[in-house]
Every structure is written in structure tokens, then in C-alpha cells.
Symmetry: C2
Subunit: 512 residues, 2 copies
Amino acid sequence: MDRLPSPIASLSADAAAGKRDAMTSDAPRPEARSPRGFVDRRARDLTAERKILAAVAEVYERYGFEALDTPAFEFADALGKFLPDADRPNEGVFALQDDDEQWMALRYDLTAPLARFAAQNWETLAKPFRRYAFGTVWRNEKPGPGRYREFVQCDADTVGSARPEADAEIIAMAVAGLEAAGLPAGSAIVKINNRKLLNGLMTAAGVTSEGQKLVVLRAVDKLDRLGPDGVRLLLGEGRKDESGDFTKGAGLTAAAAERVLAFTAAGTGDRAGTLARLADVIGGSAEGDEGLAELAAIDAALAGLGVGADRAAFDPSVVRGLEYYTGAVFEAELLLQTTDDRGQPMRFGSIGGGGRYDDLVARFTGERTPATGFSFGVTRLAAALKAAGRDLAADSRGPVVVLVLDQERMADYMAVAGELRAAGLAAEVYLGTSGMRPQMKYADRRLSPAAVIIGGDEFAAGTVTLKDLDLGRELASGVTDNAAWRAERPGQMTVPRAELVAAVRKIVESQP
Amino acid sequence: MDRLPSPIASLSADAAAGKRDAMTSDAPRPEARSPRGFVDRRARDLTAERKILAAVAEVYERYGFEALDTPAFEFADALGKFLPDADRPNEGVFALQDDDEQWMALRYDLTAPLARFAAQNWETLAKPFRRYAFGTVWRNEKPGPGRYREFVQCDADTVGSARPEADAEIIAMAVAGLEAAGLPAGSAIVKINNRKLLNGLMTAAGVTSEGQKLVVLRAVDKLDRLGPDGVRLLLGEGRKDESGDFTKGAGLTAAAAERVLAFTAAGTGDRAGTLARLADVIGGSAEGDEGLAELAAIDAALAGLGVGADRAAFDPSVVRGLEYYTGAVFEAELLLQTTDDRGQPMRFGSIGGGGRYDDLVARFTGERTPATGFSFGVTRLAAALKAAGRDLAADSRGPVVVLVLDQERMADYMAVAGELRAAGLAAEVYLGTSGMRPQMKYADRRLSPAAVIIGGDEFAAGTVTLKDLDLGRELASGVTDNAAWRAERPGQMTVPRAELVAAVRKIVESQP
């Protein structure tokens, strides 16, 4: 594959297309901005996210998961949810028609492409197939503050194992991944539920219609906000809020509502205790018993892996995603209190989630294929780490800047930078055309640890002058006169040329 | 930002959209495949490419270049070349209309987004602005063997410096990056030319029209294939090839043609010698002299950086990209002879390129802004490394596989895997439902270094049996009987449970 302009043929095509003529044409100049919901990311954020991905990849590979990259585009029908059937197929996804009129769409998650990949390669894969993926996903939704239309997800899934141990492995790996990324142990917990338990509960509570079930789920999801009393109303006849608005309830009997509340309250303490309490509430329903047996196996496997209830607990109040998943459901939550934009304390909340979904591959093959996985957003995890006091980018410094005082000695300045780099120190020669003071300002804005100053005196004496910029940063900002500044020399020292590397290293290593 | 299904509202939306109903609906099943020109990439390739990117990033940061990520989408008018003005705007790019009817397109390189970013943030950037970027780019072209519509580029650019030293720095950094990625020193060279030299040559050779210039460039580009005699014909009246087809020439006088040939032949040996020979050919033309002065400064800076002509040479025969760039042009070439699909020797050729382009930012700001950069394709560099005998993925092994012989002891098997992982060894429990032999086959296909076998005997005796799979791989493939296989025990040993980690580590470390 050739990423360069191809030889001469397309040279002329480029010229014909006016590649270089745009400036001189009369066409209006385009505005320099990005489409809504798309953002540039600078070094600071990228450094933090790369550290997260590297740490997580190492953990996931240690669990036997292999990396997989799928293309940004899938055929729209392979994504399933968003079949283009109108003039504007862009509902939720970014879709376009290929030359052959087929609709393609940018992936909106990494699960649908995995399902396509697994179906396509099922015969040749070693099964169960464990893979992890980092990848950009795109959602054609209304952007908002902190809500982008492009972001990076990190997924890990096992396809082809119906064993609860596969769920347990995913959970343990998620815990290990989050901790490797920098979350202090105990600052996050993976909460585990099972759709089958919920189905068992619905049977036990006499809920039959999908509509009524949805109202029950919505009520349970408000437990944090309304407390048991508010939810009890929503499970029964309904609830009037502070503004006087009335929300119609699920219409359960009082006994059934208590059963639902007991179910949601069962998730405290150790996992075995939760299972025992749950058995009291939903025991006897066939599907409920199946869910309990799966959770018991997950408990045993987690215990084998050394993951206690402080890191992975059963919590029947987790209902998010339950309609999507077919068995176990996981949600990773940051337990720390943080503050919102107005300084108010708030729970940080979810930092990732997953579960068992046995139907996705079947969309292609017609055969139900067991699968389970966990997913997190890298930007959100970086924010969680920051909230937990682990700023991975805090140590990101700029390069040492070699100032240019004599235009005739550029090759010498380049050699100085080269020597520092060869010693593993980030360094650059100032390549603008400004004088001393703007060069110092430049070094300052680059967050440089040190400036190397070599003028006529230094060249003559075979020395270099070094400036510790952390030490001198505040003073330097007030300097208006080059001569005075040189005389004052805050944080400045002159050393023999041969001691350049050692002296710079000493400054760099003395700084945070 | 929330990457999970949002609570209950969109739960019901998911249900309404039939996310889980696809399997049971009567709709035809989609075929599991990717659009043309898009490919899945497995762990082996990804491992190699990640190593390249990590090594190059380290070098580029040591040169003071900061990471930048821009979005996949830009406004189509910001990309410039491909203004959508028809019903099918997808000429060369993947474009679609946003909700507000504005055309957006996926970036086709990383330079246009950099120009947009630099124009947008010019006031607040520390200048000169050095950035590097890894990123997927998309080209809506006809795919072919090894020619994809999506690939990863790695770019480094300096914006805001007109100094030739900025070009030299980019060249030295490209050399260092390629070597850090694994290319043996001496296996590649960066060839440097300058558009101004070529313009000077055209003046000296009496070429005036753009059309004639293009014919001259095309002729020079065929030097490798046709040799000087063939090119001489193409520079003059024209040339008849073996099939009898006649290609009309540029119509230069014999003296002018010799001048062009002398120009292209000037690039042998050291850089100063090349400059002297070039001065003979084009000296006196104002633009030519300017180009020569720039190359002389690049030579001095490269010398300061310790980069000799064996790694970065002046080569006036490099014409690729000259129409696009405004000054210096670079092309990195792998010097090794490799073989093509039919085993014929071939030159691997270009592995990256770049140059100075002073017009791009001006598209937005109207002000000419000096910039210079280098770009390579990651997949192509990985192929070059392979051709140079450096297969970065050669050491990619699978995890240790813990076999499951007793379904009741799953938690114990999980604990064994956990113990190995805690010791830094990649390990997994077999989570399928098959018997002993398929489990061994699975471990084999995973390229596992070792299998851990714990059955009733081992549990009773407090031991584990380990199998060195490299040692036993060939023998194992012939086994048809489990009992016989266990009796034969090729590459197999039994150790006390407490020695598990040490014994596995010994096997893993004994393997390539």
C-alpha cells in the first residue's frame, strides 16, 4: 500500500484538482473549526489515555485475550439496529452509500463488529474466542457538554462459552484492568446482576406484560433518587412529585411490591448472603433458580481468582442494560464522592459495564452463540482516575529547549540537542526567529524543565549556561530587559560543555 | 460521557428498535463480511504495529514533538481538495451531510486536519508548533491487493518555522524513528530534494510551460526503469517502446536534455559533493541558488545531528511529490532487495515521505505559514521490517492454558490461572465444554507455550502436571487415544503444586 502521492500520474491529478491552488483562488476561505461533537485532543489527555490503554492491554493479554482491530465501517445491515430504509438513514449512526449502492455505517460500538467477525471466522477460530479491542466509535447523536459524537471504547469479550466462569473471568479482569489503569483498590466496585433473576422476580411478583415489566424496571432504577418509599409508590398506584406531577405506577399488589423491594435490597454484604436472601424472594421460579445457580458459580470462580465482595458484589438493584443482556449483567462504579461543576458533592457513578449476550452472533448465523464481555470508555475512565486523585498526565513536561543566540552556530545548537536526546532526554532547538526573551517565553509555554543558553562567551570558554526553568519561571516572567535578565540569572549555572548532559539530567530529575 | 446504554429510557428504545429481536424476525440474515477494502487485523499484526508506534512515539517526543489527535471528521471544505458539489460527493473521500446539511468528510490524511488545527489555535500555540500524530485515514478509492481504504498513518510536522534546520530536524527524526522501529542502520535512506532546485533546472533548461515541465518530470521519474538513454529520448523527441508504442517527448534541445540528466545524476556520494555538482548544472538561476542554500543549511544541521550521507543523502532524481511541496522534499526508501509474489527480486522502495509545504494553513488564514513534515504508513513499515528480517510479532505466543478435567473443580483451575497471572505469566482456563484432546488442540492453536493438567491424581497428590507444548506439539498431533497420550507424556512433567509458577516460567522462558 502506498501512502505517498503516487508518482507522476497523480501529481498531475493533484495539480488538476487544484491542491495547491486553493490559496490563490477566489473561493471563500473555509472556517477553521470541527463539526459539532468532535474535539481535538492534546498531548496531556492523550498521554493519560495511552497509559490507561497500555496498562489495560497488558492485563487483558495476561488473561489470554488477544487484540483485534475491525474496520471503522461495517455494512449497515451488519450493525442491525439501524437499517437504512429512508432518505436520511443517519439515525444514530453515520451512514453512507458505497459505489455499489450498499449502505455502510461507522461502528457505534465494538460489539456488533465482533459479532460480525466471529460469525465470519467461526470455523477457523480457536474456541472459546477471547478478544479485546480498543477503538474509536461514532454516534450520530445530539452532542452536548462532555458528550461527543466520537470516542474511544475498550472492550473485552469471550465468544463461545456459556460457562458462568467466563463471566467471572471477565469481571475479575475488569477489576484488574481498572486497578492497573491506576484506580486505587477499593475506589471502584463491579456490581453484578442477572437478567434471569429479574425474570424470576417478575414471575414471583405476578408481572406478565412487557409494558408492566418496563414500569417496574424504571421504578427500581429510581431507587437511588427516591428511596424505597418513593419506589414503593411507583410499583403500586403511582407517585405525585414535588411539582404535583403524577407518575402512574406499575399497579403491583402491596405484597408483590414488597417482594420487588426485598429483591433490590438483597445486595448487601458478602455474595453468599445475597444469594441466600435472593433465594427467599424468588426461589421456586425455574428461571430464577437458573440465575441463582449461575451467580453461585460466578461467586465460586471469583473466590478462586481472589476477588472478594469488596471488589465484585452481587447487586440486584442494577437494572441498566438488563433488557439488552441475556444473563449476567455487570456495572463498574466509582465509589468516590466527587464534586460537580458547581462544587456540589456527587457520586461519580458508572465507569463501565457489560454482561452476557447470547444472541448477537445469531443475527448472522441463526445459531445462538454464548458471549460475555465488558466495556469502558477511555475518556470517562481518565476522568474517574482524575477524580480519584490519579492524574496520569501530571508528569507531562516539555522538552529541554536549546536557545539560539547566534544564527551562524545552528549546527552547534543542533549537536547539543542531539547529545541530550542520545542520553534519553527530550530536547529541541528553538526554530523560530525571535530574540532571547520570546525564546524564554516559548520554553516556558512548552513547560520545559530547562533551557540551554550558549552565546559568544560560552562558545569561547567551552561552556554552556543552563537555566532551571521551574526555579526561574516566576522571576523570568517579570523580566523586561535581556541584559538585566542575564545579569540576574535566576536558577542559572554555567558548566563545562563536557558536563552538559549530566547537569541537564540533574535539573530534570530534581523536578516533579 | 456515557458509553453504556442509558438507564431505562433508551432501554425501551432499544427494545422498540428490536435490538434483540433480530434473530427471531423473518428479516433475511445479513452476511458476515466487511465492505471492500476494509480488513480485520489480528493480534500478530497489531502487536507489530503497536511496537512500531510506541518506539516511534518515544523518539518523536524526545525530539520535542507533542502528540495530537484530531477527529475523524472534518468539514469537507476544510479538506479542500474534495469539495462536494454534486449528488455523489464521494470522490476520493467518504463524505456525508450532517443534520444541518453541512458536508463532513473522513480525513484522507493527517496534514489537512493539522492545517485546520493550526489555523484554529494559532494565537495560543507555542510557535514553532511541533506535533506528531498516529491516526486512521480513509480513502474512497478502488481497493486492490494490499491496497486498503482505511489505514494508519504516522505524521510529524513543524508548523511556523521557515528554517532549513526544521527540515533537517524532521529528516534526522525520521531516520531515528525508522531505526527505533527496528530497521537495521543502513537498510534505509532518506533521499532529499528541493522543488526550488527543480524550478531552477527548468529555467536553466529553457522549460517554460507547466505542461512541458510535467513531461520532463514524468521522464525523470522513469530513470530507474529506462536508464539515462531511455530518459534522454523522452526528454527530446520521444521514445518507441518494445511494443512499438510511441511516447511523445518533452522536446528539449540536446543540451537541455543533458543538463537535466546531469542534474538527476548529481546525487552520488557525500552531500557537499552533490551540492557542488548541482551548482554547476543550475547555478545562476535565482530560485536554484535559493534551493542550494537551503540544502547547504540542511547538510550542516544534519552533520550537527550526526546524520551522515549513508542515512540522509541529496538525490535530485526524487521527483515524487514535488508538485505538492514548496521546498525540500524527502523520501525514505528501503534499500534491501526483496522478492515479489513470484519470488522475483524487487526493490522494496518507498516507506515514507514528506517535505516542506508552506501553503496549507493559508487556505484558512490567507497568510502563508511555513511547515514541514514527514509521514509513513504503519502497515507498510511493518512490511518493510519483515522484509528486513525483523519480524516484530515473531515472539507473540498465546497464554498458558489450564485444562479442565473435573467440572467440579472450576474454582481451583481459576485459582491456578490467577496464580500464574499474578506472576506475570499470561494464562487462561479452558472454558469450552470439550474433552482432553480437543483442549490440547485448542492450546496448540493458541500457540500456548504450556498446558497445565490437574486431574484426580494430581489433586489427590497435591501436584500439577505440565506439558511443554513446543516440545510435545508434533507428537501430540498424532495422538488418538487419551489414555495412551497420558501414558506417553511427551514433554510432560509432574511437580508439586507449590512449584507451579517456577516450573511454568522455566518452560516459557526456554522457548523462543
